[in-house]
Amino acid sequence: MTALLDPTAERSPSIRPRLARPPTIDGLTVGIVDISKARGDVFLDRLDVRLQERGIATRRYMKPTMARPAPLALRQQIGTEVQLVIQGLAD
């Protein structure tokens, strides 16, 4: 038998259960996050209009750059201000 040394971080993947989907979005605030990808705003602007037409409150957020993870402060702000998030991932 040979023993090899583990080259990985030796972490079991942590699987977090998703939050349950709300039965309705009425009365909730939806965060719309633009990750600064080209033309992402075109898609998100349209969604924003459609949500507001249905009387859904929205808040807009923007990552400073698509190339880096969102700053912690921004993630915390989003987490405290809205109950749902829509994010445009690609152009």
Partner: protein, 475 residues
């Protein structure tokens, strides 16, 4: 046989002339226990000899030189000497008039138990490596290479099995503490220790003397300005390109000349590979998972080369980037592929620079500016043109920035029948292809061929994405 509770022990090997010289003395010392490292019949004249075939006794006694004479009292070592020195042997043994016919002194030889390869095996067997990584047992019926593929550790090519002995030898390549944290690796944001990096360096095929370069390269890609998470996660082509400067290049036999960016040199090939394996195995960054590259590029297996400083009329890249001359350093750049610059007719620097500039305008798409940072690898026969004209590297930079400014009219979306392009506001303006500070010039390549190269970068270059990082190579 264990060492005596009270009495003398000597460790010898037949292959050592000084040990052979002391045989008459060993025969004089009654009750002496002699451990022979290499020959069960040596020394034939001594009754109390023990063949230390596995060298465990030598290792426990911490012998480094043979002969080593040790005196025990009450089960504890109370004195020792090594080599042959009559005065010292008489003091340790408490016997006068030893070795009357021998010279007064002879230096000893290196003990077999501390030879490279043997020492590591003994440390593993005696549980002294200090390595804390999890041991993964591979069954006797399993093929180690296949087992590593199955565990997902490979970049697609076979790996060197990271046994404890090999990793211990690898760690011998640096003076850094194995548990020192070099950086935090995306995408899992895990701390990379020297030990974990050494394991991946073994798998990549590195020699221990490459480890300081690997550590510096890992430190560089994990520095905040490099934005390794983004470089990993982008759909674009890029991965870390590692350029090595300073004396370490020659010490470890890197290639800066013919085929510098190609295959065939172990240091070039395995250092770049080790960096990628660190991202994959420690950080969990794998293709089609967090690595979202559309095409990637072959340099994501490995992309590492050295600058030919000796052949260059310019200062090395590392010096240009703030490292003291004579120091070894690595510079990492988020880059991809190699676009050729073929110019076999220019003999004036102005003409040659225009050739470079026109080729560089095509990076990504001739309709796109600004595009990305770029590394320009200038071959010896092209550099000669600048050298003979007395152009400094700064002059080349200045000319390249100027000559790669493009007419906005040509760049506007739809211009020249190509939908890709910039906004209408570009019309009537000059638009820079490269941001200031976004170009790097490196001198490398073989002596024949008027062929240079451009390594393109990532569209998210500089503060909004990845900026090149230079780190000094520490021991």
């Amino acid at each position: 046989m264990d060492a005596p509770h009270d009495g003398l022990v000597v460790v010898v090997k037949q292959d050592c002339p000084t040990c052979v010289l002391t045989v008459p003395v060993l025969a004089e010392l009654a009750g002496l226990v002699v451990y022979s490292q290499d020959d069960p019949d040596f020394p034939a004249e001594v009754a109390g000899r023990v063949y230390d075939s596995e060298l465990d006794a030598s290792h426990r006694l911490r012998v480094e030189i043979v002969p080593t004479l040790i005196r025990f009292a009450g089960g504890l070592e109370v004195d020792r000497t090594y080599g042959w020195d009559r005065v010292e042997w008489e003091r340790v043994s408490g016997r006068a008039g030893l070795g009357a016919g021998l010279p007064a002194m002879r230096p000893g030889c290196g003990a077999k138990n501390v030879e490279p390869g043997i020492l590591e095996r003994l440390k593993v067997r005696h549980g002294e490596t200090g390595i804390i990584a999890r041991r993964v047992a591979i069954g006797s019926g399993e093929d180690e290479i296949e087992a590593m593929f199955e565990r997902g550790w490979s970049d697609g090519l076979p790996l060197v099995p990271p046994t404890e002995e090999r990793v211990l030898r690898m760690l011998g390549g640096t003076a850094r503490d194995p548990q020192e944290v070099v950086g935090v690796v995306p995408s899992d944001l895990v701390e990379a220790t020297v030990e974990k990096i050494a394991i991946n360096a073994v798998m990549a095929g590195c020699k221990p003397e490459y480890l300081p370069v690997v550590l510096a390269a890992v430190e560089a890609v994990l520095a905040e300005p490099f934005a390794m998470h983004g470089v990993l996660a982008t759909t674009m082509y890029v991965g870390p390109v590692v350029v090595v400067n300073g004396p370490v290049r020659r010490q470890i036999g890197m290639n800066a000349r013919g085929n510098a960016l190609g295959q065939g040199n172990r240091a070039n090939a395995t250092i770049g590979r080790a960096v990628q394996l660190v991202i994959r195995n420690i950080g969990g960054g794998r293709p089609q998972e967090v690595d979202r590259a559309t095409l990637g590029n072959p340099g994501k297996y490995t992309y590492c080369f050295a600058e030919d400083e000796e052949g260059s009329c310019w200062e090395p890249l590392s010096v240009e980037r703030g490292i003291a001359p004579g120091k070894s350093a690595v510079t990492v750049f988020a880059g991809y592929g190699l676009q050729g610059v073929v110019d076999q007719k220019s003999r004036e620097p102005e003409s040659l620079t225009r050739s470079f500039a026109e080729c560089m305008k095509a990076i990504y798409n001739i309709k796109l500016a600004p595009a990305c940072d770029a590394m320009v690898v200038i071959s010896p026969e092209h550099e000669r043109t600048y050298r003979e004209a007395g152009w400094s590297k700064q002059q080349v930079y200045d000319a390249l920035y100027r000559l790669t400014e493009m007419d906005g009219d040509d760049l506007v979306a739809g211009a020249h029948g190509i939908a890709e392009g910039g906004p209408a506001s570009y019309a009537g303006r000059k638009i820079a292809k490269f941001r200031q500070g976004g170009l790097m010039i490196v001198r490398a390549g073989g002596g024949a061929g008027m062929f240079s190269g451009i390594i393109g970068g990532w569209s998210a270059s500089g503060e909004r994405g990845s900026a090149p990082v230079t780190k000094e190579v520490k021991g």
